[in-house]
């Protein structure tokens, strides 16, 4: 078991800054997701933790030990790679047993541990096969088996389920979380899939272009994104953004859009008052925080329906509001044809306003 602290860490590839001044703390036994699009520096971070990549500047500590200059074998970590990286010439059993053999453990103990791990991952029947004869899911289980059999202080997972099909991925999310809870081992899990991060992590570190954007629980990140980028990245379908003018009228804070005028709640007004003067802001609303009606409602924004996308239990409606296209999530009983007028009302308690210039969230 180990806690991990990353202090002012930089990673440079020549002049490219892959990771910029990263600070993260991962508690002992925590499931931490590092989330971001490709090229955001999340994999570089993980590789620095593993010792596969030189740390350009800054310090990484596991517990009290500074690990900057320790080779991977001395860090007591186990890593699962995106492409599994199994030894192609070894059987599943030997793949899993390899690290124990390297430690010089005796045969009976190895056998017992390998079988236990295999049992946990339900791959006992595959022990004699080679990786070439395994499906993607089986390979991935083998790779995880190789990691857990070592009983390391820290797991490092680099998009381990990215290459599985959607159904298996959904299944593995639950299994991985359960496995981590049962083992109680600290886990740092890199992914570009926000659904994986939201569903599994205790805390999420969102990265973008080498910079840590936000670090918090899944709920905090979903409900209180610190900036427009995080708001847009987290959530599926993504958050809608509208250009609005912030104006103060008779002590009320108003958001003016060509198609509607919305009023901030008193709490929101208090949050924004000192920071923003009148001017351009971006309104962020998630598709499921908008209600859509065919008939006119007082104070609603008038839009035009483009298409409807039924999803079984839900339905997405593409609406144009002025020259902006937004998505609304509703129930399939809403009927509309292309070009129909529609009226949108926003959940004012849950909308977000971001600064027009910096993209930082007011609330």
């Amino acid at each position: 078991m180990a806690s991990v602290s990353i202090k002012n860490v930089w990673k440079l590839y020549g002049k490219t800054e892959a990771v910029r001044d990263l600070n993260l703390e991962c508690r002992d036994g925590e499931f931490l997701c590092v989330l971001g699009p490709s090229g955001c520096g999340k994999s570089s971070t993980l590789r620095m933790l593993a010792g596969l990549e030189h740390i350009s500047a800054g310090d990484i500590h596991f517990g009290d030990v500074r690990v900057n200059d320790l080779p991977p074998k001395d860090r007591d970590i186990a890593m699962v790679f995106e492409n599994y990286a199994l030894y192609p010439h070894k059987s599943v059993y030997d793949n899993i047993a390899n690290s124990l053999r390297l430690r010089g453990m005796d045969k009976a103990a190895i056998d017992q541990k390998v079988k236990k791990a295999a049992g946990m991952l339900e791959i006992e029947a595959l022990m004699d096969r080679r990786p070439g004869e395994l499906s993607g899911g089986q390979k991935q289980r083998t790779a995880i088996g190789r990691a857990i059999v070592r009983e390391p202080a820290l797991f490092l997972f680099d998009e381990p389920i990215a290459h599985l099909d959607a159904k298996l991925r959904a299944h593995m999310r639950g299994e991985l979380k359960l496995m981590q809870r049962e083992l109680g081992t600290t886990m740092i899990y890199v992914t570009h899939d926000q659904l994986e991060a939201l569903s599994m992590a205790d805390r999420i570190a969102v990265m973008h272009e080498g910079v840590l954007q936000q670090f918090g629980t899944p709920d905090e990140i979903y409900r209180h994104p610190v900036n427009e980028w995080v708001g847009g990245f987290i959530g599926e379908p993504p958050m809608n953004f509208l250009d609005c003018e912030l104006a103060e009228e008779n002590g009320r804070m108003l958001l003016r859009h060509p198609n509607f005028t919305g009023e901030l709640t008193t709490g929101q007004a208090a949050l924004i008052k000192d920071k923003a003067q009148n001017g351009a802001v971006r309104l962020g609303v998630r598709p499921d925080e908008i209600s859509i009606k065919a008939a006119s409602v007082d104070g609603a924004a008038k839009g035009r329906v483009l298409v409807t996308e039924p999803l079984g239990g839900d339905m997405l409606v593409d609406v144009t509001l002025g020259d902006t296209k937004i998505l609304v999530k509703t129930k399939p009983d809403y009927k509309a044809d292309m070009g129909d007028d529609c009226y949108l009302t926003f959940d004012t308690e849950r909308w977000h306003v971001f600064a027009g210039d910096t993209g930082l969230a007011y609330f």
């Binding site: 010792g51 991977p72 074998k73 890593m79 010439h89 390297l102």
Partner: protein, 292 residues
């Protein structure tokens, strides 16, 4: 995956081409196989029988070639009178020795060049192969002087060193291609599993084994067939089969029977080796060419 069959459409031109192809192959087969056949058969004939030839144009006289009493006398003479067992041993030691050294050091150097970035890497890599650009003859005289100074002339270690000088750069160059094809992730996984760098290198060796095996054979072939080094550096104490065979040609007496037998002794081991690792040789040598 696309079919690897070549799509062919029937046409008169193709018919003609097919016939020509078969014809060419037949001629080519005779051209390459006949000398070996003659060598093999003649090694079992005594001198008189060996020179019995049918008259020109007499195709039925072809039976003359097969009309002889097989004798192993040439082989017996070779090993009894001419010390061929020693020369055979020399050949085996020199070729295997240099091949092993080349492959061991070559694979380690190739691994480093494949995996580690350092300043001047490209120049170093080019310099390594550039040592092979000069023809062997050009470096023979200085090499001889150096070897004589070091007391290596006429010794097996000297011969092994000479072959290694020429095999090693080639080994590094070729093996680097094999290592380039192995994904980094496998070694990285090995290092996370608890390997140090050298153990990680060992852990991917099985993946390049076909390439290394194929190259080992090429090195053996180079040394086995070499005449120049063997006659100059190895002359005297480290005589190999080609040199020994050449010495059977004496001004007043060309011992054809023994020469033929020596030819068979020299050729057969390599032929068997070739047959044995034929499949490896093809997969091994094409492995480096195609990236995944």
């Amino acid at each position: 995956m696309a079919s690897s069959d070549v799509v062919q459409y029937r046409s008169p031109a193709r018919r003609v081409l097919e016939v020509l192809t078969v014809l060419f192959l037949a001629v080519y087969l005779i051209w390459t196989m006949l000398p070996i056949f003659v060598m093999f058969v003649s090694s079992f004939k005594d001198l008189l029988e060996a020179f019995k030839l049918p008259r020109v144009g007499d195709w039925s006289g072809i039976g003359v070639f097969f009309d002889f009493n097989p004798t192993f006398q040439h082989y017996i003479d070779l090993f009894d009178d001419n010390n061929f067992s020693t020369y055979l041993m020399n050949s085996i030691i020199a070729s295997l020795g240099s091949a092993l050294i080349s492959v061991v050091f070559g694979s380690m150097a190739a691994y480093s060049l494949s995996r580690i970035e350092f300043r001047g890497k490209k120049d170093l890599f080019f310099w390594i192969i550039s040592t092979r650009m000069a023809p062997v003859v050009a470096v023979m005289v200085p090499l001889y002087a150096i070897f004589r100074g070091a007391g290596l002339v006429g010794t097996l270690p000297g011969l092994i060193l000479a072959y290694t000088t020429f095999n090693l750069p080639f080994a590094i160059w070729i093996l680097k291609g094999f290592f380039d094809n192995v994904p980094y992730a496998i070694e990285e996984a090995a290092m996370c599993d608890g390997c140090n760098r050298f153990q990680a290198f060992q852990s991917i060796l099985p993946l390049v084994a076909p390439g290394i095996g194929a190259f080992l054979v090429l090195c053996v072939l180079f040394a086995w067939n070499d005449f120049l080094f063997a006659s100059i550096i190895g002359s005297g104490g480290a005589k190999t089969l080609p040199v020994a065979t050449k010495e059977l040609v004496q001004p007043q007496n060309i011992q054809w029977g023994k020469i033929m037998a020596a030819g068979v002794v020299t050729t057969l081991p390599m032929m068997f080796l070739g047959l044995l690792i034929r499949r490896y040789l093809v997969t091994g040598l094409t492995m480096g060419a195609v990236r995944e």
